[in-house]
């Protein structure tokens, strides 16, 4: 590979540090393969950016500078051998609920402070195998329970667009890191919107794949039937590249699907031709307008949908009648599963252990001191919902509603190729605005939760600003058709001229 190849692909030569941290993964790939930028340079530029802005943003719980440098060196050697994979040498942030052998994995909880996993999550080992560079472990609400990253035991992350506001959550760290150029791309997890909502708040792209598309092995479980790992990126194309690198069946996760993984990256970006949505039927759900929806959000989303129509898409009104029950049932199902998933944090084998005279007191003190208030709230909710005498009224009923939510989507996707709606009813809110009112906090995920309940893919793509803060359009598709949501989001993104706008850090 020579520098001329890079020039021929149109990447141009990136020279300054800010140029380097502004590169997308696709651009970085061209520069790296052209050998006019090294993985080491790219990594140093990102580590320098982290040094410069972390004091204000706090995207990371742990920065893995030495690991990243070693991976960058190895990545450069691999590129020199002509054996680069799509993610070789590309700096990535990992949400801190993804297990890594070479950095602590805390799930932003005191109970796992300093915990070192003896194994890598499957997505981590797949990125490692590709030669990606791990910049660090990014912040989250404790055990991914929250919508603002304010419930992190290690301090909140700030929204790079306005430091007085939350980045969303639970994957606020990965979202802010990508928005603030502290990483090229990132992996988060989405149980009820935890990738899409913070992506929306931080003005980046966030994708929740189909349940089963990406292995959950090594993802610290919150709600096993809903959790799904997904990419953050500054472009839809990058999200497709990162998804392709981590997707596919894993024998270690019995819920991971055997479905073949299409070449997502080939479906999007400049290589896919001019934005064109002719022949695509897009559903607009009448239920996705709620009380409390901010007018600025509604306006930006309406404008984006109009733009999609200009690109040739046919707009079809659809009905998802059980949407209004999805939020309530989510707050039965997710805490129920969480109450069991979090039982293992008992101070016996790993993590925080507060010794007390009796076993019972050891349990109580370890969990009492180790878990934060939101985690405790959900463990109690879930334990209650599963208890004898309440199980049928809560858990079983929620499962039935979940089936109805899924059926709503099945029926809608018989008529349309994808559904478009807001990612969140509001833009990012100020710190403390919702921590005292869990229900208001939960409402933030009202548009994202149905996709988790149905197991379908959804993407959040920036669609403008309201009050100076990013607004996000959500595109939902049928199970295992990430392709359509990527295509719609990509067509929209490339039809807009403002989308390269960066936060004023």
């Amino acid at each position: 590979m020579s520098g001329q190849d890079g020039a021929r692909t149109g990447a141009g030569r990136a020279t300054t540090a800010s140029d380097l941290t502004a590169l997308t993964a696709a651009e970085a790939r061209r520069h790296l393969d052209a050998r006019d930028v090294s993985a080491a340079e790219l990594t140093e530029a990102h580590l320098a950016r982290i040094d410069a802005v972390e004091g204000r943003v706090h995207s990371y719980i742990t920065v893995m500078a030495e690991v990243a440098r070693a991976q960058a060196t190895a990545g450069d050697a691999r590129i020199a051998r002509g054996e680069a994979a799509p993610m070789t040498g590309v700096p990535v942030a990992l949400k801190d609920n993804l297990c890594t052998v070479d950095a602590p994995t805390t799930a932003a909880s005191r109970i796992l402070a300093g915990y070192r996993s003896p194994y890598d999550a499957t997505v981590v080992s797949r990125l490692r195998d590709q030669g990606a560079v791990f910049l660090g472990k990014a912040n989250t609400d404790e055990f991914a329970m929250g919508s603002s990253t304010e419930w992190s035991a290690f301090g909140a992350t700030r929204n790079p667009w306005r430091l007085s506001h939350v980045p969303g959550g639970s994957s606020g760290g990965p979202a802010a890191a990508v928005a603030a150029d502290e990483a090229v791309v990132a992996l988060g997890s989405d149980t009820g919107g935890s990738v899409r909502q913070p992506a929306g708040f931080c003005g980046v792209v966030g994708l929740k794949p189909t349940y089963g598309r990406v292995s959950r092995y090594g993802l610290i479980a919150f709600a096993s039937s809903l959790d799904q790992i997904g990419p953050f990126a500054r472009t839809v194309e990058d999200a497709a590249i990162l998804l392709g690198a981590v997707a596919g069946h894993d024998p270690l996760d019995s819920t991971s699907a055997p479905e073949a993984v299409p070449d997502f990256a080939a479906m999007v970006g400049p290589g896919a031709g001019e934005p064109d949505l002719r022949g695509v039927r897009l559903g607009v759900a009448r239920e996705y307008t709620i009380e409390g929806m901010e007018p600025g959000v509604q306006a930006a989303v309406d404008a984006a949908i109009a733009r999609l129509a200009e690109l040739g898409a046919e707009l079809v009104e659809v009905s998802l009648p059980h949407t209004e029950y999805a939020l309530a049932t989510y707050y039965i199902t997710a805490p129920a599963e969480a109450s069991a998933n979090l039982a293992r944090y008992d101070g016996v084998r790993f993590g925080l252990s507060v010794q007390a005279p009796t076993l019972r007191e050891t349990y109580e003190r370890t969990r009492g001191e180790g878990f934060g208030p939101e985690v405790k709230r959900r463990i109690m909710l879930g334990t209650y919902a599963l208890s004898s005498g309440y199980y049928d009224a809560y858990y079983v009923k929620a499962q039935k509603v979940r089936t109805l939510v899924r059926r709503d989507f099945d029926e809608a996707f018989e008529r349309v190729d994808a559904i478009v709606c807001p990612t969140s009813p509001t833009v990012a809110f100020a710190f403390g605005a919702r921590t005292d009112d869990p229900y208001q906090m939960y409402l933030s995920d009202v548009f994202t939760i149905p996709a988790n309940m149905a197991g379908i893919p959804g993407i959040a793509v920036p669609c403008g600003f309201a009050d100076g803060l990013p607004v996000s359009l959500q595109v939902l598709g049928p199970a295992f058709d990430e392709g359509i949501v990527l295509r719609v989001a990509d067509a929209y993104e490339r039809s807009e001229t403002w989308t390269g706008q960066r936060p004023p850090l």
Binding site: T255, D346, R349
Partner: protein, 502 residues
């Protein structure tokens, strides 16, 4: 006291000590370790016997954050095989559930088990108890995982409890029986029959001492007229068949005494204390766990479709009772001998392999006698487990044919058996030890002559018409040949000598 647990009709006016006709109702829950190479939900070795504590483990069976279970297909097949051997239905849909409770030996804080939709349901176990053939219903067979172990130890500074998770995740199946058993003896015989089937089909070693076969019992007492009904009591901590019988006998007596005295038998869990021979209360109904079962979201429903069931069914061997009946009918063996020969599959296999498919009833009985008398005697002397004979089928076949062909006398064979080396054929051993039959007529004739000279009285008796006296002379001649002469040869030569000289 749980007043609702007993319905006493005041009008019946039961006087303490009055003769009441009681009935005991027992149902057993058996946990058997499945004989698989790896654990139930991970690839760790299920046989951790020689591993230091906490080394036969991985992130899955340690319950580490992020780890996920993968169901062991071999374990599911063995549980299915068990269900089929017990005549169970295999429902098309079954699932795994989380059973939530907290204890340091349970690393995830829940056990992956099966709650309302088990792998196998509704079968029956036929067994013999007190000479009578009985049938008890099987409620269900389901798969689950074992817990780790706690080790309590005194150390400097006080008592400590240590956790060893080598056993965590070892595959178990639970076989729940209907409350069809009516006495402690029946309970014991049911267990023996169940264990025998599990061993026959290779589902479990059934070893109670090693904990591979564990039993909890539910026992209640009522009067036949239905006037007095005690609640169900669960009994745990019974580590042998004998312990099960003793514990249930104790409970039966205790419950009858309570009801007779007009007291309630409350619903509770009691533990058997082996050295004191009593059960003690462990947990009352009010203290019962709420396990908060819900479907295991990490595992899809178990795959037990018609094709898989057919494949597993094809592995089903002839079961003990059927084999016992066939042995009795085909070989003219008594019920007792047939039962002993089929008690362990390996021994029945050795027997059949040794006699071959063409054996006459006489040959089969001879082989059975050698096994039941000599080989089992030697087995006991050597402390071998009940399913291991001192001779292989090949060795036994060689011995039987040598005996049938007169190459060895029964007496020589009895002397030979303890000295046969592993894998050595008995003929070769007999040659090595000089125990083959004597073909040297000179030696036999000399022994005959010696005997005749030594026992003139017997000779006279014979010649006087007491033909039975020859028995003594045969025995004495055999003794003089070290048991190696063929008895019929000795008889012929003695007769010739006695008749000729008379």
């Amino acid at each position: 006291m749980a007043v609702e647990a007993v319905r006493v009709d005041p009008a019946a006016g039961i006087a303490p000590g009055s003769a009441l006709e009681f009935e005991t109702v027992i149902g057993l829950e058996v946990h058997a370790q499945l004989l698989t190479r790896s654990k139930m939900y991970c690839g760790c070795l299920a046989d951790y016997a020689d591993a230091p504590p906490n080394t036969a483990t991985c992130p899955v069976c340690l319950g580490l954050p992020g780890a996920l279970p993968v169901a062991n297909r071999a374990a599911i097949e063995l549980a299915l095989l068990t269900g089929l051997s017990l005549g169970c239905r295999i429902p098309g849909y079954n699932k795994l559930d989380r059973k939530n409770y907290v204890y340091p030996d349970l690393p995830k804080g829940y056990q992956i088990s099966q709650y309302d939709l088990p792998l196998c349901a509704g079968g029956a176990l036929t067994f013999v108890s007190g000479g009578v053939t009985r049938t008890a219903g099987i409620t269900r067979v389901h798969v689950e995982e074992d817990t780790g172990r706690l080790v309590h130890r005194s150390e400097v500074g006080g008592e400590v409890s240590l956790v060893d998770l080598n056993r965590s995740g070892v595959p178990l199946m639970e076989i729940v029986g209907d409350p069809d058993l009516r006495s402690p003896e029946e309970a014991k015989d049911y267990l023996i029959a169940l264990r025998q089937i599990l061993r026959y089909i290779g589902a479990s070693t059934g070893n109670m001492e090693e904990g591979a076969f564990r039993c909890d019992a539910n026992i209640s007492t009522r009067t036949r007229d239905g006037v007095l009904v005690g609640s169900k009591v669960e009994v745990k901590n019974m580590n042998s068949f004998r312990a099960v019988e003793r514990a249930l006998r104790f409970e039966e007596t205790r419950q009858r005494a309570a009801l007779s005295a007009g007291e309630a038998v409350p619903q509770e869990t009691r533990g058997w204390v082996e050295d004191r021979g009593v059960t003690v209360s462990q947990r009352t109904k009010e203290q019962a766990h709420d396990y908060r079962y819900f479907p295991e979201p990490d595992l899809p429903p178990l795959d037990a479709d018609a094709a898989m069931v057919a494949t597993v069914r094809a592995r089903l061997p002839e079961l003990p009772l059927a084999r016992r009946a066939r042995f009795a009918a085909a070989f003219g063996l008594g019920e007792g001998d047939a039962a002993l020969l089929t008690a362990e599959r390996e021994i029945a296999d050795t027997f059949e392999a040794a006699i071959g498919p063409e054996a006459t009833p006489g040959e089969a009985r001879a082989a059975a006698n050698w096994i039941l008398n000599d080989l089992m005697g030697l087995q006991g002397q050597r402390g071998l487990p009940p399913h291991v004979l001192p001779l292989s089928a090949d060795q036994l076949r060689d011995l039987l044919s040598a005996l049938a062909g007169g190459e060895m006398t029964a007496r020589a064979a009895k002397e030979l058996l303890p000295q046969v080396e592993p894998e050595e054929l008995p003929r070769a051993a007999a040659a090595r030890l000089n125990l083959l039959s004597l073909d040297d007529t000179g030696v036999v004739d000399a022994a005959v002559a010696e005997t005749l000279a030594a026992f003139p009285a017997a000779v006279a008796d014979y010649r006087a018409g007491k033909k039975a006296a020859i028995g003594r002379l045969i025995g004495e001649t055999m003794k003089r040949t070290g048991g190696r002469a063929r008895p019929d040869d000795v008889r012929r030569r003695l007769q010739a000598a006695l008749d000729a000289d008379g």
